[in-house]
Symmetry: C2
Subunit: 206 residues, 2 copies
């Protein structure tokens, strides 16, 4: 019976062109239902109505379903930094990159929320996500250096910008805030200004 | 022959009280010489002149040699935040914690440099370090919330403070800068102020 059903789905699948999209949806459903570690590629392929071989034509492994967008995300983040007018400060250039990334995530809000919940539930995926974020910060620093920003400033600005992004993303993705991510990001950047108000010297309290 | 030598070292070891210190030094030497992955607990114990059993009385595994100081480090970072006078801003309180941690690291400069090189050479250790830093940021946010700082601000300040610390630590530990870590940290915090100079509005360049 189950074989028949699978075969029927498979037969339908042969007409439907979006195997990749169906694999992504099937994987996200299964990761949410039974956890990332307890889901197999065979199960994802079965739910999507394709063979395992088709899965591996689209994704290197089951982790890549969650991280396949990383390159596109990095592009969104880095291109505005590279292309920002020279008149922008390093932090303004970095902020332009963050806004570009935030706008994309806002359009994929539901996917982002589901992805976040799946990653939060898995130590392996949390590690991978931290590594991805660290490498994005390094790439931002590199993009700033290419604008002529000195090494130490480039690293500082990139790390601070990613910190603002992470803190804001956390508010948005957990649903603690109703606002859109780009708007929350503008609020965070304004808060960052106020944190460092020169009227309140930081070198105090040694 | 090698058995005799080991036995002699072991005999000496029985008089020397600092087995833990010798294990730490032996492990750091071996990790630097042949890499973390390719060093065994048996080799560490042999070089320190103790049994494997003695190793496991002091450390849960070979990774813990590098991370055993984490709890003490967290204390140094968090206590000044908890005890800072109420008049300090959230960022000032966080900065007091960073300075306290920086002063300890400055006193362990050689250990810190060797530890950093070992961790940089191992993907497994880099992952672990990233997780440790992320959990320190979460603990800082919690310490700030206990001071009555609102949730969103606490997370933002903690993430930004850890970002400043990471960027500064990277300059110091790689030897690119001759300055002491506490001094470099003060420079970074001053640079953070200037990044966010209200004369240069961040909300620009949308």
């Amino acid at each position: 019976m189950s074989v028949t059903v699978n075969t029927m789905i498979f037969a339908m699948a042969r007409w439907e062109p979006d195997a990749r999209g169906r694999l992504e949806r099937a994987a996200m459903e299964l990761y949410a239902e039974r956890g990332f570690e307890d889901t197999t590629v065979a199960e994802i392929a079965a739910r999507a109505g394709v063979t395992e071989r088709t899965f591996f034509r689209h994704f290197a492994d089951k982790r890549e379903v969650l991280f396949a967008g990383s390159d596109a995300f990095a592009q969104l983040l880095l291109t505005p930094i590279t292309e920002a007018p020279p008149s922008l400060s390093p932090l303004q250039a970095a902020a332009a990159g963050l806004r570009s990334a935030a706008e994309m995530l806002q359009q994929r809000r539901e996917f982002s929320r589901r992805r976040h919940a799946i990653i939060a539930a898995s130590p392996e995926l949390r590690e991978r996500e931290l590594i991805k974020l660290a490498s994005l910060a390094a790439a931002m620093a590199e993009a700033l250096r290419e604008r002529g920003v000195p090494e130490a400033t480039a690293t500082l600005v990139a790390e601070v910008a990613m910190a603002v992004f992470r803190a804001t993303f956390a508010r948005w993705v957990t649903g603690a805030e109703r606002g859109a991510l780009p708007q929350l990001l503008t609020e965070s950047l304004t808060a960052l200004e106020q944190l460092s108000d020169p009227q309140v010297p930081l070198a105090h309290a040694g």
